[in-house]
């Protein structure tokens, strides 16, 4: 039985990393990162390709285990209390983690079931998700036959089925056309305040629009962390990226 999340009054739970390290052989992907995401906060994680963002996310979800340090989601360890942590998380991966041979409704029904929903609760969540993400028209179609934009909507929809207090979104608008990007951002903006949002993105404008605080990773290290306006408004924020890109290369 998954205990209730320690949600803040305004929704959301905290994520805390302390001296978090992850190595892949000799390569250090996350190097001593310490940060805290407050409950209900919209937090952005920025960095060049290979900076360690996705690895950090995977440490938070428990898909990977840390080599050293700790990470806690709502005070729980993803390594040791995986089920409890997963009950609190909705995760939208960078590239669609979908089953192309399933139909949209079937896929969402599966994910809902995998998240512990059944019966009327599942039916209601399914109906709500299909409507909220405007998937009713394609509910009977194979996921593999959908456009990228629709696939991303399905990916978003599956993350919200169980109404999680923490949503982790990795590059949600990558590969989408401007119209689709705007739609996705609108959805994410509507979440602000009602749950914790951890957003990985390359897009500075997206970060400015959607987040209240950001952190910048470079070669696994945290090089900047603070209010979005400060971190991205001071000087040339691309310098941080260039520095991190140079270091990354």
């Amino acid at each position: 039985m998954v205990e209730q999340a320690n949600a803040a009054p305004n929704g959301g739970i905290a994520v805390e990393a302390r001296d978090l390290v992850r190595r892949f052989g000799a390569r250090v992907a996350v190097d001593g990162v310490t940060l805290r995401v407050e409950p209900g906060e919209a937090f952005g994680l920025l960095g060049a390709n290979g900076a360690g963002k996705t690895t950090f996310i995977r440490l938070v979800t428990g898909y990977l285990l840390p080599s050293a340090g700790s990470v806690r989601v709502d005070g729980l360890s993803p390594a040791l209390a995986a089920r409890a942590v997963h009950a609190r998380i909705g995760y939208v991966a960078e590239t669609s983690r979908l089953y192309p041979e399933l139909r949209v409704r079937g896929f969402l029904r599966f994910v809902g079931g995998a998240r512990g929903l059944a019966g009327e609760a599942l039916d209601a969540a399914l109906a709500d998700a299909l409507e909220r993400f405007e998937l009713l028209a394609v509910a009977g179609r194979l996921v593999g036959n959908l456009s990228k934009g629709y696939q991303q909507r399905v990916s978003l929809a599956q993350a919200f089925l169980h109404d999680p207090p923490l949503v982790i979104v990795d590059e949600p608008t990558a590969g989408l056309d401007p119209l689709q990007q705007a739609e996705v951002r609108d959805v994410l903006a509507s979440l602000r305040g009602r749950r914790t949002l951890l957003l990985c993105t390359h897009d500075l404008a997206e970060a400015r629009a959607l987040t209240s605080r950001v952190a910048i990773l470079s070669r696994g290290r945290l090089v900047a962390c603070g209010p979005t306006a400060e971190v991205l408004g001071a000087g040339d924020p691309l310098a941080l990226f260039r520095e991190s890109a140079r270091e990354a290369s």
Partner: protein, 262 residues
């Protein structure tokens, strides 16, 4: 249980969403039907020849030992089906875990309420259901013929129990190999190789001598599988085949957890 049931349903939906599953079932059913019919036809002809000279009743001496349903029909069908399973099952199992890794949908699975144990259990269960359906599809015609002939189904049931446990063992090998790689091709090739090596260890006596013969026999799939064709179901053989499933389950689970640490 809800997440586990959802996973099993999803696995079966994925399997049967593709025409390939139906083609596989069709192939197995058709091969069985034709092989069974062909051997039955020849058996009837031989039987007719001998029974026309038999004294009938209680005198069995007119019909040679080798003219019986078991040796003329059941055994060849079972051997053929066994080889068919060796050829088909790795193709079914190669995608089960490897495709998840390749598509990275394992990350989606492992961020749900499904524990690694449940993930492995769900995939094993769905695969075993498919193997059972494979054999059920092939069972219908021989069973109908046996019943129509007024004979009991027990011996045929023993034959198919042997095929089922062989199928489970082959599926287990395939699933374990699939869990160790992200490449379906590697999964299939390694599953074939392992099944081939384990099928009959009599080759190893060339290197180890006859003293280890009984031990190697006990480790091999084929000698134990063959016993079912005789109509004898040994609990030790059932445990042996179940051992493949248990060990493969443990290997797959370890592999899933190991991936989090690697």
């Amino acid at each position: 249980m809800i997440p586990l049931r959802a996973l099993v349903r999803k696995e079966l939906a994925s399997l049967f969403g593709s025409p390939l599953a139906y083609l596989t079932l069709t192939g197995v059913a058709l091969v069985t039907a034709l092989i069974f019919f062909d051997h039955l036809r020849v058996y009837n002809q031989i039987l007719f020849l001998y029974s026309s000279t038999s004294l009938g009743g209680f005198d069995a001496d007119a019909i040679p030992d080798f003219v019986n349903l078991r040796d003329q029909v059941f055994l060849p069908v079972m051997e053929t089906l066994g080889l068919t399973l060796i050829g088909l099952v790795p193709l079914v199992t190669m995608r089960v875990f490897a495709e998840e890794r390749a598509r990275q949908t394992d990350e989606l699975l492992q961020t749900t309420l499904l524990s690694p144990t449940e993930i492995v259990l769900g995939k094993f269960a769905a695969t075993f259901v498919f193997v059972a359906l494979l054999l059920l599809a092939s069972f219908v015609y021989p069973a109908a013929s046996i019943l129509r002939a007024g004979l009991g189904l027990e011996h045929l049931a023993a034959v198919y129990l042997g095929l089922f446990v062989l199928g489970l063992a082959l599926a287990s090998i395939g699933l374990a190999c699939s869990a160790l790689t992200a490449s379906q091709l590697v999964a299939a090739v390694s599953a074939y190789a392992v099944a081939f090596v384990f099928y009959d260890f009599s080759w190893a006596t060339t290197f180890t001598g006859e003293t280890l013969g009984p031990l190697l026999d006990a480790l091999s799939l084929h000698p134990r599988f063959g016993r079912f064709s005789e109509g004898v179901v040994r609990v030790a053989d059932l445990v042996y085949f179940a051992g493949y499933a248990v060990v493969a389950f443990a290997v797959a689970r370890l592999s899933l957890e190991q991936a989090r640490v690697r």
